[in-house]
């Protein structure tokens, strides 16, 4: 479904991604793990089109999209929940969610809204309040819910568990697993590597801008180097 080939990107002179290649197949959950500053967020932003690319290709369902405007990528079915509570602060929770469906005003919008409220009941309770009045964890839920409102084929989740209570982390990762049964493919970026690899079919390890390891989720979980570097074992 998604093929990234030798993708490079930089902030000024600093190379953030060096010839990164990876693949996400339809129906998979793929985890991207790595330490802070390894380039995980840069990669997701490049896939969404909000981070300029220096070289390489991004293919989505066979179509080259690396030069496509961000909003057209959303139309193609790529939706991202960005890192760090990027909500529309002054707008209400419900408006935030409805804007998530900006490019998909179809008959199923209400059903998706109900689905998101089912996933995160706290959002339903406070649907009229401005998003900036939510706690950090609730804003994170809102960002994920907003990404789901686009009815994506490929969901990019950047640090969905950041700032969430452990119980909520389990809940969100369980939600990701259940999304697969609805036909949503997920590329998951996580610092919480053990939790991410546990639910992932396959995983990639990103270090200082390039992929250093790849394998099935289980294999990476058992790998001594991964265990030492990212799982603290």
């Amino acid at each position: 479904m998604l093929t990234v080939e030798a993708l490079s990107s930089s902030y000024g002179r600093i190379m953030a991604l060096r010839e990164v290649s990876l693949e996400v197949k339809a129906g998979e959950i793929v985890a991207l793990v790595g330490s802070n500053g390894a380039g995980k967020t840069t990669l997701l932003r490049a896939i969404s089109g909000v981070q300029p690319v220096r070289g390489g290709r991004i293919l989505f369902e066979g179509e080259a999209i690396e030069k496509m405007e961000p909003h057209l990528r959303v139309v193609r079915g790529i939706s991202q929940s960005p890192e760090g509570r990027q909500v529309f602060g002054p707008l209400s929770i419900e408006d935030n969610l409805k804007l998530g469906a900006y490019r998909r005003q179809d008959a199923r919008r209400q059903a998706r809204l109900d689905h998101v409220y089912g996933l995160f009941p706290v959002l339903a309770e406070r649907r009229r309040t401005p998003a900036m009045s939510l706690s950090g964890g609730q804003q994170q839920m809102l960002a994920i819910g907003r990404a789901l409102m686009a009815g994506p084929k490929l969901l990019l989740l950047d640090e969905p568990s950041l700032g969430l209570a452990p119980l909520l982390v389990d809940q969100i990762l369980a939600a990701v697993t259940s999304l697969r049964t609805e036909g949503i493919t997920t590329l998951l970026v996580e610092q919480n590597a053990s939790a991410a690899l546990a639910i992932a079919d396959r995983g990639y390890v990103l270090e200082t801008g390039h992929i250093t390891m790849e394998g099935t989720g289980a294999a990476l979980l058992d790998d001594p180097k991964v265990r030492a570097a990212y799982l603290g074992l």
Binding site: S48, G49, V50, E69, P70, H71, V74, V75, S79, Q80, P82, Q86, V87, F88, G89, P90, L91, D95, K98, L99, G100, Y102, R103, Q105, M132, S133, A143, R146, A147, A150
Partner: protein, 290 residues
């Protein structure tokens, strides 16, 4: 008392014009962080355009419509040719670009139109309407009515349509706006077009009172900017309140002190706001919760 009322009426009339210009500032600033110093020139294009089209034989409504459309085109071109290519430039650079654009618009207007002052006949005659011992000109009602209608229309657009909310979303968080699929470039163009339309309409209804000339935009820009600053840059309610306040203070100064100081009031207000309350009356942009 009747003198007070008289001054208040004319203050609210000019204030309504300033409010529309300040709203134009607000709309563009929120969507793009640009402070558009060509805002007052849209007022001029609306007024001068209507004057010359009427002189060419068109009826007022047709002439006004064409003039407003022309202003919108200028606004869109300003965005497309001057602002968009400088995407990512510093705010100071962008401000200088808009000042340059303003000078350019004045230069071209001087050639297309002329260097004379022009006026339009009042839309509904010149017979003053007595109100509580004072009088109000029918044209003042046109100005205030137009301003009110535009403010309400803008509010309904922003709060009750999906595209309007996309404008608010872009103002709140541009990255997230792109990620949900909002075409941010289109939203910015929309902001410039709407601001131009509001300014031009203000120019059409104000010209019978204020007169117009190719270079009248500068003063409108500065008054509107003062109003937006006073209200709190970026806050639409602040823009309207700031506009009305600047209009009132200006008229009362002219009435009770001397009309010599009339134009100084707006600049004094800019200084006062910058020194003592840089966030304005309705301090916009609350600090994000961490």
């Amino acid at each position: 008392m009747s003198e007070f009322l008289q001054l208040a009426f004319s203050g609210l009339t000019v204030g309504a014009i300033y409010a529309l210009i300040a709203l134009g500032f607000t709309l563009i600033y929120n969507a793009s962080d640009v402070i558009n110093f060509a805002q007052g020139d849209f007022v001029m294009i609306g007024g001068m355009g209507t004057v010359f089209l009427m002189a060419a034989g068109l009826a007022l409504p047709v002439a006004a419509l064409i003039a407003v459309v022309a202003a919108v085109l200028v606004g869109l071109l300003l965005h497309r040719l001057a602002i968009e290519p400088a995407r990512g430039a510093s705010p100071v650079t962008l401000i200088m670009i808009t000042i340059g654009a303003s000078i350019f618009i004045k230069g071209v207007s001087q050639i297309i139109f002329d260097k004379q002052f022009h006026s339009l006949p009042a839309f509904s005659g010149d017979t003053p309407i007595p109100v509580g011992g004072a009088t109000i000109l029918p044209q003042s009602l046109w100005v205030m009515g137009t301003a009110l209608a535009l403010v309400v229309a803008l509010y309904l657009f922003l709060e009750h349509t999906l595209v309007g909310k996309a404008v608010l979303a872009t103002a709140a968080n541009r990255l997230a706006a792109k990620l949900v699929g909002i075409n941010v470039a289109l939203v910015l163009a929309l902001a410039f077009g709407l601001s131009a339309a509001m300014g031009a309409l203000a120019g059409v209804v104000a010209t019978p009172i204020t007169l117009t000339r190719y270079d009248i935009g500068t003063l409108f820009t500065l008054k509107g900017f003062a109003a937006a600053m006073l209200g709190g840059m970026g806050n639409p309610v602040g823009a309207v309140v700031g506009g009305l306040l600047i209009g009132l203070i200006e008229t009362f100064t002219a009435g009770y002190l001397s009309s010599t100081y009339k134009d100084a009031v707006a600049f004094l207000m800019i200084l006062v706001v910058l020194l003592f309350m840089p966030r304005g009356l309705f301090g916009s942009r609350t600090v994000e919760r961490v």
